[in-house]
Symmetry: C3
Subunit: 458 residues, 3 copies
């Protein structure tokens, strides 16, 4: 007996599983659709769909290249090479030649370069001497003037607290006529003499004819693509936007012109220095040949224009060469004004990518559903005949226990007057577990039970 | 006849196309919905929907700014300017002034700066001499000790293979009391004398009062927005987190304090050098005024703390000034300890972007569907009454060829006993190509055929 | 009366609102589904769904880590330390020791370093002298040859316009046998004598044994995670891909070997210089321990190989030490050839993120719907029995005003001949506002009206 029932049970379980598998591969589900003849609504829907379709395909997929995986992370390396010989005309009408080893300081920097256009040179030794004439705070009459003052950050060294009444009244005259009498300058200990800002500028002539060769090596690590800004058969050239747009050699004059349109400002930039950002903008479509991808050069001035009277003017820094002579430390202090060129790279690369395409398509399908969503709201809630539409679109199901069902039924019957026919009542009496309006109007048969796969006899 | 049939054919084709177009703009499709009265399930669905809605709108769209296109690629340029005068108190009680041209090495770097806080200075010429006392490997008694040893990477030059028994026992005493007797040092050829690590430190006093002016110029290339870390009307100031949070001038003391809280470590950093990363973090909401976007400064120590006894301690490097005197090459070797400040920028910018908004909305619509998806699973498979629900939600269609239909019908009839009524059987006999439960209970009329637009007579 | 009607109105409004709320939490909507028994279509759908499921879960979620927020923006800082002593064998068989202060120029750079492997040293003073022999353009016979020529960018200074007929015919012989007779060189004013490219190379021996210690500090600002490329208990080591893959100290020989496989090219790189990019590629899974995240080092040669006869060969630059001797400016000009190592970092980090997961899931749900979408198209439009399927899937609704309805009805009746039965006609006569095929075959009752919740009596 037991074996028999076990066998039966086993047989039954296997049948259910088999049945489940069978139905998994034979029963295709699709939503039942209600087809409503309403030209207004349909046209509205179609217009919305067409707009979304055009927007999706034209804009998102084609214009914004939604089929491409895009990446903006870029690895970049630069090497820079400046060429040209400049010269300085000194006050004594001497010509000093300035070559690349003189005007590039430090000799190499990463992603930047400084090219000196003007400088103040001071030969110094360590001792004690008067402060620079240009330093207002250093003016004194007695020693106390130098003792009590907080040490300025512009001081050339540590103030000793003595006031040096300089006999060089000539210098005093030019800068401070009002304080003609016995005015002195505070003494400091440090590198002497102090740098004098007001000496004649040592302009580097021919500066604008110098050329800079910009080599840029980039990589898009996401796509493992390497590229550079030089064409294969490069020849001696100077960049010109029209005649040689592929040449990576620029004259400083061109760069300065691009960065600053005002000739007066340009003049001041050569005198007091300036900072220019040279940006290479790469926009590579990796679905095409990599050689077609070329950078766009932009030159932007970074330092605040002189006309705006900035807090910090131009660009300069100091450096020194040190040596010993007869056992004494000497240095040549250089205050270097000039152009600091800072290289920058921005870029993006795109490449066809099925994942990106499918994710974007997935998003678009979601957007597409919005059209139907809004039209359904209009149909079912906002239109004049929405009540009637609802009647067709919705099919109400009340699922209740036997007692509830009868009570519910009674109420329904009472409310609906003639609506319930004998069939419905019978249905509820025999199979009383549910009330469904649309099906309640036909006699309920075993076919209904059969529909649920589990109860189907073999 | 032919012309007539062609005309007819043409006429018919045109009618179908016209019909298709007509139905395209008049027939609105919407899924038929089943309305189930079940408070449990509905409340569950509503709770899930409310959670998803709150999450979507509050978190994704508002908090995470899902309506903004966000970009983290940022182009940055720095210029740095250090001010201040330091001094060194030597063993002989001499005061050596160290100014900006002395303590910044090299004079300019891109996105970084080194400020010397301590140094060892050695005047050298090329010759042959004993190794540094501090180099353990250089200790020797006989020449063979220097020949057989592998050349250390710390050697000051190429070892000649001779052991110099130095008479300077005084030096020996201090460092190696155990090896008091005739211990020597290996001889090397190179710059002499060797640098001596154990001389008194040349601290740069006033170092912590130096100020550094950090100018940062950024660009978000995706949005073509440029910005800088300086307010328009900048005045002389020192950064203070409360009193002047917009001032881009920092004292080295403040930076060091921020980067390292332990005063003992700070002391050691000034002695042996250290590396500090100064990071400017920009978080720009480009939907608001660009001036409101200000960087957040963070100072992080990068070198491993001394208390952890690191493999590589602090930060130092060597550089030299070269000169000739009486035809002999001289150099002053400097071993510079100090703070290396490395500038870093991170940032993101967001700007309202309809594409991003629509793609995110599309994704959210997809997420929203999940609530219905899970509730449907509960409804149709997990709830107690799922069998009854399924009966209402599903409408089964068997579509078969005539023979299959009859066979299938027979089986169905056999299986379902009383389930099939005469209507159904008739339906299958007359239009036997399909069996649909819900429609099988009414007589099939031409209206059914008419429903498919192609067959409708004109 | 008024109060009564107001009360009634109020009562009614409250009832509607209550009813709305009630139905919001009790009426569960779900699409009515049509279950079609068609194994072909179902199997097609299941295959499509399985493919999409496997693709979604395996590829997008697991392989591409769709559950992680990924970020490629990385903040990086480097410090580099080179060790080793090289030597140069001069023509006169002298050995010159070159140490770290000599061969690293400038002493520190940000994210890059230059290590000199060969150099040309020239001691110069400012004066006037003959151009370099190697400069073709400087060959002259008379002064006019030097006057008329455009100044080459390779000139060592400003040409004075004089042609110096040099007595040093020996030099002439070697380079220009054809122009043996009285050939001279143009004179220039500048640093003299001119640098001579053709002197014997000053190779730095032992160069390939130098070691470079690369310290890299990174941060993923999005995740606020910091990391470095050094293990905690670092010991003296040299990187070896198998034996010590975690060691951040590399020998220059290894780096050069990795960057250039051709020994001949390597030889030329040491002679004429080269540029090598050292890239650290970080791929951090932040769901695991951060210590497991280690960089991958790649060494790529950036300068164009010599065999391709590039426009710009190798890598070199000039720098000078300046000093004064007996009041005269002197400098030692160095043309330094060597390896320029440029550090680069690329990286991405991923961390589990519910937002990313939900957005990706949302997209996938959208994709998933595509399977049903395509199968529905086949079902309703492309399959042989699509006309029959359509009959079951669609439920047509004609909603018209009374007059329209009758006219429409008339037309329908005329067209459909026998299709309309009396039931339908009656339905249209009594409740003439809509025609729905599937419901038209039964008498319309008040139950239909009751279905819309608002009209249901309490």
């Amino acid at each position: 007996m037991k074996l028999n029932s076990l066998f039966k049970h086993h047989h039954r379980a296997r049948r259910i599983v088999t049945k489940g598998f069978y139905s998994l591969f034979t029963e295709y589900e699709t939503p039942k659709l209600v087809l409503i003849h309403s030209s207004t609504l349909t046209i509205l829907l179609r217009i919305m769909q067409i707009i979304l379709l055009i927007y999706s395909i034209l804009y998102l997929l084609l214009y914004e290249k939604g089929y491409q995986k895009q990446d903006t992370s870029i690895v970049s390396s630069f090497t820079l090479k400046v060429k040209g010989v400049g010269f300085v005309q000194t006050v004594t009408n001497e010509t000093i030649i300035i070559d690349v080893a003189d005007y590039i300081i430090p000799p190499s920097e990463n992603d930047a370069i400084f090219i000196m256009s003007n400088f103040i040179q001071t030969s110094q030794t360590r001792s004690q001497c008067a402060e620079a004439v240009s330093l207002e705070e250093a003016r004194c009459k007695v020693d106390d003037d130098c003792l009590n003052k907080a040490v300025s950050s512009k001081a050339s060294g540590r103030w000793t607290g003595r006031c040096l009444i300089t006999p060089s009244v000539g210098v005093m005259n030019t800068t401070a006529n009002l304080t003609q009498q016995s005015t002195g300058l505070c003494e400091y200990a440090g590198w002497c003499p102090a740098e004098n800002d007001e000496v004649q500028a040592m302009y580097v002539n021919d500066f604008l004819n110098f050329t800079i060769f910009i080599k840029n090596f980039i990589e898009f690590p996401t796509f493992r693509v390497k590229h550079k800004n030089m064409v294969d058969n490069l020849k001696t050239c100077i960049f010109h936007p029209k005649h040689s747009p592929d040449c990576p050699i620029f004259s400083l004059g061109y760069i300065l012109n691009q960065a600053e349109k005002d000739p007066k400002e340009r003049e001041l930039m050569l005198r007091y220095g300036g900072v220019i950002s040279i940006k290479l903008d790469w926009d590579c479509n990796l679905d095409r040949k990599i050689n077609l991808c070329k950078p766009e050069y932009t030159f932007v001035r970074l330092d605040v224009p002189f006309r705006e009277k900035p807090f910090s003017r131009g660009f300069n820094f100091r450096y020194a060469s040190h040596w010993k002579y007869h056992g004494v430390n000497h240095r040549t202090l250089m205050k270097a004004y000039g152009l600091r060129l800072i290289m920058a790279v921005s870029g993006k690369a795109g490449k066809f990518d099925p994942i990106t395409l499918s994710l974007n398509t997935g998003s678009l399908v979601g957007i597409f559903g919005l059209a139907t969503f809004f039209c359904d709201i209009i149909l079912l809630h906002l239109s004049k005949q929405s009540r009637n539409y609802r009647r067709h679109v919705f099919e109400t199901v009340h699922l209740k226990t036997r007692t509830e069902s009868i009570v519910g039924q009674r109420r329904n019957t009472a409310n609906a007057d003639v609506s319930t026919n004998s069939h419905l009542t019978v249905a509820h009496e025999t199979i009383p577990r549910f009330v469904r309006r649309s099906t309640s109007l036909r006699p309920l048969t075993l076919a209904d039970i059969e529909r649920s796969p589990e109860s189907q006899p073999v």
